[in-house]
């Protein structure tokens, strides 16, 4: 057991992983980790612009899990919900990256695929236009977000957003997305 953990820890470090979390995710966890991430980057004298970009993508991906993960626990009495997912922040070739993963409903697959594929083809100007257009578009009542998260991430990232959706059993798919800053 002890050796496994030690091995796991070193494996993460060797891969340049700064932070990894898998399990229940909440807004308060986001706030805490977000603060620590900012502190770490500040101490390492990362430029303010990069810190802002990393933090921004971190928030969008964490809230994406909070709002859209299909694996969640809801307490009936309180308006409380906890969603499950995985999130990794790392650095490779001098670029920060963030990866998140969570279950989605199989029937959300097509819309997500279409949206992200579309965003991947856009350049900076097109992304800006799309962002502004979506910002004024009427909100879908069932959605907790504004549908702007992925566009925002694409605008902050230095490379097109990568993603993968894998079909699982029993009506779920696993969705992974990676943004490089």
């Amino acid at each position: 057991m002890q050796e496994d953990i030690q091995h796991f820890y070193h494996q993460l470090q060797d891969k340049g992983i700064i932070f990894s979390f898998s399990g229940p995710i909440s807004q308060s966890l986001l706030e805490g980790i977000g603060q620590t991430l900012k502190q770490k980057m500040t101490l390492e004298e990362t430029s303010k612009n990069i810190i802002q970009k990393v933090f921004s993508i971190f928030v969008e991906l964490m809230q994406n899990i909070i709002n859209y993960s299909a694996q969640r626990v809801t307490a009936e009495a309180a308006e409380q919900e906890i969603s499950y997912g995985v999130l990794i922040v790392g650095k490779e070739e001098n670029h920060f990256y963030i990866i998140s993963g969570n279950y989605i409903q199989e029937n959300q697959e097509d819309a997500l695929q279409e949206k992200l594929t579309n965003i991947r083809t856009m350049d900076h100007e097109e992304l800006k236009k799309y962002y502004k257009q979506q910002r004024r578009a009427p909100v879908d009542d069932a959605s907790k977000g504004a549908g702007l998260g992925f566009i925002e991430m694409a605008r902050k990232a230095s490379q097109p957003i990568e993603f993968k959706i894998a079909r699982m059993e029993n009506g779920y798919s696993f969705f992974v997305v990676k943004a490089v800053i």
């Binding site: 612009n49 802002q52 921004s56 809230q63 504004a146 702007l148």
Partner: protein
């Protein structure tokens, strides 16, 4: 009409809307879990305020270090309501205050500015 006020939290800004001074102020960071829910009371207050508007001028000071994408949508709603008031002849001055080394805040301000025609939207750099 009462003052609308919210204390600052880690993920929500300080808000102070004073109907007597016609001075609306927002300052801090904004990335609440549910932006629509958080900002609903503020927008409701604003609607009531604008519908009963007595004065001819409103001053709005916005100093946001960071906001997430769903907050951005709510701020657009907020500015669109002010834009409508401006179209109806009220002089609306928005001061978008940003720190000199916060390029993101400047860009965000510029993007709101581009989308508003009647509001007098100023970008103000501070040190």
């Amino acid at each position: 009409m009462d003052i609308f006020a919210r204390e600052q939290s880690k993920s929500t800004p300080w808000i102070h809307f004073d109907p007597n001074q016609n001075h609306l102020q927002i300052s801090g960071e904004s990335y609440p879990e549910n932006s629509a829910k958080f900002y609903a009371p503020m927008l409701e207050w604003l609607e009531g305020y604008l519908n009963n508007m007595q004065a001819s001028k409103i001053q709005v000071d916005v100093k946001l270090i960071y906001f997430n994408s769903s907050s951005s949508k709510l701020f657009m709603n907020f500015f669109d309501m002010l834009e409508e008031a401006a179209q109806n002849g009220i002089y609306v001055e928005v001061n978008w205050i940003y720190h000199e080394d916060n390029d993101t805040a400047l860009e965000c301000g510029e993007e709101f500015q581009e989308d508003l025609d009647n509001v007098c939207f100023k970008l103000i750099q501070i040190e």
